[in-house]
């Protein structure tokens, strides 16, 4: 069996890659995609953790809490992406750009 740590290292690598994507891409759509990647990595960690938790002594089985949480993450991510993309579209329509570096008029 694969040790829990390996799952976590995998999810950590993917999470960090997503983080790099957020910090290194200028296209707002790519930034949003990278955030989805991070969420996905977190989901993997949740499911892995759930698999490796000891069973509840009362029932003798492990509750699928982590998996349920992933369910919520996916649903929330869908809503978040919809809203974020709507705002990105508005940005494109109004300022003709999707580049986050171009959106820096509010400062200091």
């Amino acid at each position: 069996m694969i040790p829990l740590e390996h799952w976590l290292y995998l999810s950590g690598m993917v999470f960090t890659l997503g983080l790099c994507g957020v910090l290194m891409r200028r296209n707002v759509i790519l930034v949003l995609m990278s955030i989805e990647i991070m969420l996905n990595a977190a989901n993997l960690a949740l499911v892995a953790f759930n698999k490796y938790l000891p069973p509840d002594p009362a029932t003798g089985a492990t509750a699928p809490d982590g998996q349920v949480f992933v369910f919520f993450t996916i649903a929330v991510a869908a809503a978040e992406v919809a809203v974020a993309l709507a705002i990105a579209m508005a940005l494109f329509r109004r300022l003709d750009t999707v580049n986050v570096d171009d959106v820096a008029n509010l400062r200091w």
């Binding site: 957020v22 910090l23 930034v31 986050v100 959106v103 820096a104 008029n105 509010l106 400062r107 200091w108």
Partner: protein, 708 residues
């Protein structure tokens, strides 16, 4: 405690009336002032006059009808206090507290205020914001009287702040001129510096003593039953240190409010307000509130804290006096004089002269208000504040001159005038402090005597330049005229107090027999400077408490006549020198100034205090930092980024060797590096969301490393 001059409910009602009446007047005037006949000045004046009647009634009841110096009345002791907050974790009842000191203070404040209200009717006549002026003035009286009658430190602080707001409003009264708004802002800010320290002191005191009610606080100090402060004890703080620390912090409030060095810079600027305001707030009452507070909290101060108070007071007395020497603006001279006199009071309190310091507070209020109103009368008449424009005015304004002269003599401390009795006591106390403690402790005495000499000198300089000699400005002289009766009468009243407030005109009266000394009992700790809470077995300078007390009494007795002789010498010297330089012109002042060259310069520049805080100092530093960062961001950063962009293109064009990614990386690196520098300083607000994220994450990581 059992016998009272009044029944409890009457006293409580009177206390309420004292500050509710002015507040109601202020409220009415601010809302309906313009609709009332004469702008409602009669209402405000009647309000404060009725307060004066109440205060005087109390005063006579206390002296004539009762006369016991131990008299003190706390409404809480009779179950008359209100639970402002009452929870398990937080108890804060509030009530009234009256004793001889507060009754005398009330009488002084209301009498002076009434005179000034009358004077203002003449002085402010025709001003477009006439009702607003009286509204603010009434508001100020509300806060000031509230400050005197409350029975706990937190409420004193709240009224203290309200008084500050009143001062802010009144200094900035002429808001359409350039100077007053700046001065009012400065006054408020400088005061807040002291006030937050005061607040910190209050919080620590609360933690330590467990209550903020005066009576209860002193009871705790006496019994030594301090509140639980295990946490503090663990951290290595002992009670004595905490008492000293919180005492000094509480005194910091007085430093700013009473214009003590180094937070005095606001007071001269505050003269930008109307002259009656300067008389009421910045001479007689508000600035004296600091002294009053120190008097109220007197048993709380440990010997070390009192030493601190002495030092600050002595410095202020001297520095204020020196600055008074060189000013040409009549009000500025008086402002520095006020500052110096407040220093005297603090000095007096610090060296154990509890009675002396507070007595001076009362007498000074009368004659300094008279001086300010007199200067107001002069300014009203010649429309200038520069003494070089004045001169020979005694012919044109005889009554102003007479009252002014009386007040000047009182301020100088010439025997038989009110200031003599109080100031002489301070000097005597300072001398006996030196006698009791050793050579180094003579410094306050020396400062006090030198200050007395300077005070006399600059006051007579002022009198000679303004009222004697030849007119400085012929045109202004010709148009000068005596002020109307409504302005002159208050001057006369105050001048009478300038003679009478001492209670006697016998120049050799024993200090113990003066009315104030009889009425205001020294707290038991005063003689040894607040040692009560340390216990009777504590030794002071190697002597037992009892012996020390005896020595102190003895020294005070010994000091009386030497101090008197020295200060009279100083006064005579001051008058003669002023006469020689400014009346007979036997010595050229300019030559003297030249002789003292650099020193004169320093004094003229107000010891550079303002520079230290202002544009060149703290505030300026902040503003400069901000501007510098903005400039750096806009010019240097963008410039460098642009330059690097150019360089990048140039290099790529000329050599064609560098991979675009390398350069890109370099530029990015450089941009990030420079931005890092400037952004951290300029609050990281580049507007670029990716930068935001990077910096935030960097912060998170630093946080994580700190925690791990």
């Amino acid at each position: 405690m059992d016998m009272l001059p009044f029944d409890v409910n009457t006293l409580t009602a009177l206390c309420w009336a004292l500050f509710v009446i002015p507040f109601a007047c202020a409220f009415t005037l601010i809302n309906f002032g313009r609709k009332l006949p004469r702008g409602g000045d009669w209402l405000a004046t009647a309000g404060i006059a009725s307060c004066a009647v109440i205060a005087i009634t109390l005063f006579f009841k206390v002296i004539v009808g009762f006369g016991a110096p131990e008299w003190a009345w706390s409404s809480a002791a009779y179950g008359l206090s209100w639970d402002w907050i009452s929870l398990e974790s937080l108890q804060l009842p509030v009530g009234f507290y009256l004793d001889n000191l507060s009754v005398i203070m009330l009488t002084m404040v209301t009498i002076v205020a009434t005179c000034i209200f009358f004077f203002s009717q003449g002085y402010m006549h025709g001003d477009r914001d006439y009702p607003r002026f009286f509204a603010y003035l009434s508001y100020f009286c509300f806060a000031m009287l509230g400050l005197v009658v409350v029975d706990n430190l937190l409420f004193l602080f709240i009224f203290w702040e309200l008084v500050g707001v009143g001062s802010y409003l009144l200094i900035g009264f002429y808001y359409d001129q350039e100077e007053p708004p700046k001065a009012s802002l400065k006054a408020f800010m400088v005061n807040r510096v002291g006030d937050v320290l005061f607040l910190l002191g209050i919080i620590i005191a609360w933690q330590l003593v467990g209550t903020l009610n005066y009576t209860e606080m002193f009871a705790v100090l006496e019994s030594g039953a301090f509140a639980d402060r295990t946490g503090w004890a663990l951290a290595g703080w002992d009670t004595q240190t905490l008492l000293t620390l919180s005492g000094i912090l509480i005194f910091c409030g007085a430093i700013s409010k009473s214009a003590q060095v180094p937070l005095h810079t606001w007071l001269p600027d505050a003269m930008a307000g109307p002259t009656p305001v300067s008389a009421l707030i910045h001479a007689a009452t508000m600035v004296a509130a600091g002294v009053f507070m120190v008097g109220r909290m007197y048993p709380y101060f440990t010997p070390d804290a009192l030493l601190f108070i002495t030092g600050i007071g002595a410095l202020t007395a001297l520095i204020g006096a020196t600055m008074g020497l060189v000013m040409w603006d009549i009000k500025k001279v008086l402002a520095y004089s006020t500052m110096s006199q407040l220093g005297y009071m603090m000095l007096g309190l610090g060296v154990g002269g509890y009675v002396a310091g507070l007595f001076h507070l009362i007498t000074h209020a009368f004659f300094k208000a008279c001086l300010f109103l007199g200067s107001g009368s002069v300014i009203h008449s010649v429309h200038s504040q520069d003494m070089r424009d004045m001169g020979a005015l005694k012919n044109k304004m005889p009554w102003t001159y007479r009252t002014f002269l009386v007040a000047t003599l009182a301020l100088a401390g010439v025997p038989c005038f009110a200031g003599y009795y109080s100031k002489d006591q301070i000097v005597a106390n300072a001398l006996s402090w030196g006698l009791s403690h050793g050579v180094a402790y003579y410094v306050p005495f020396v400062f006090a005597v030198v200050g007395a000499f300077m005070t006399t000198f600059y006051m007579f300089r002022l009198v000679f330049l303004t009222f004697h000699g030849t007119p400085g400005d012929q045109h202004k002289y010709e148009h000068a005229h005596e002020s109307p009766a409504v302005m002159v009468l208050p001057l006369v009243v105050l001048a009478i107090f300038g003679i009478g407030a001492g209670g006697t005109i016998h120049p050799l009266a024993e200090h113990g027999n003066l009315w104030f000394n009889r009425l205001v009992p020294e707290p038991a700790s005063a003689a040894v400077a607040g040692l009560e809470h340390v216990g009777a077995d504590t030794s002071v300078h190697g002597e037992s408490y009892e012996t020390y007390l005896e020595h102190f009494e003895h020294n005070l007795h010994v000091a009386h006549y030497p101090a008197l002789i020295v200060s009279i010498l100083a006064i005579v010297l001051g008058i003669l020198l002023a006469r020689r330089m400014y009346l007979t012109k036997a010595t050229d002042p300019a030559a003297v100034a030249r002789k003292f060259g650099p020193l004169y310069g320093i004094v003229c520049n107000k010891y550079h205090f303002d520079d230290m805080y202002g544009r060149k100092g703290v505030v300026g530093g902040l503003m400069f930092m901000n501007r510098a960062f903005a400039w750096f961001d806009k010019n240097v950063v963008d410039g460098i980024v642009n330059f690097m962009g150019l360089a990048q293109r140039f290099i790529a064009f000329v050599t064609g060797l560098f991979d675009k990614y390398v350069i890109d990386g370099l530029v990015n690196f450089w941009r990030f590096f420079v931005r890092a520098l400037s952004s951290i300083l300029r609050l990281v607000q580049t507007g670029n969301v990716r930068d935001y994220l990077t910096w935030t994450l960097l912060g998170v990581l630093i946080l994580a490393i700190t925690l791990a």
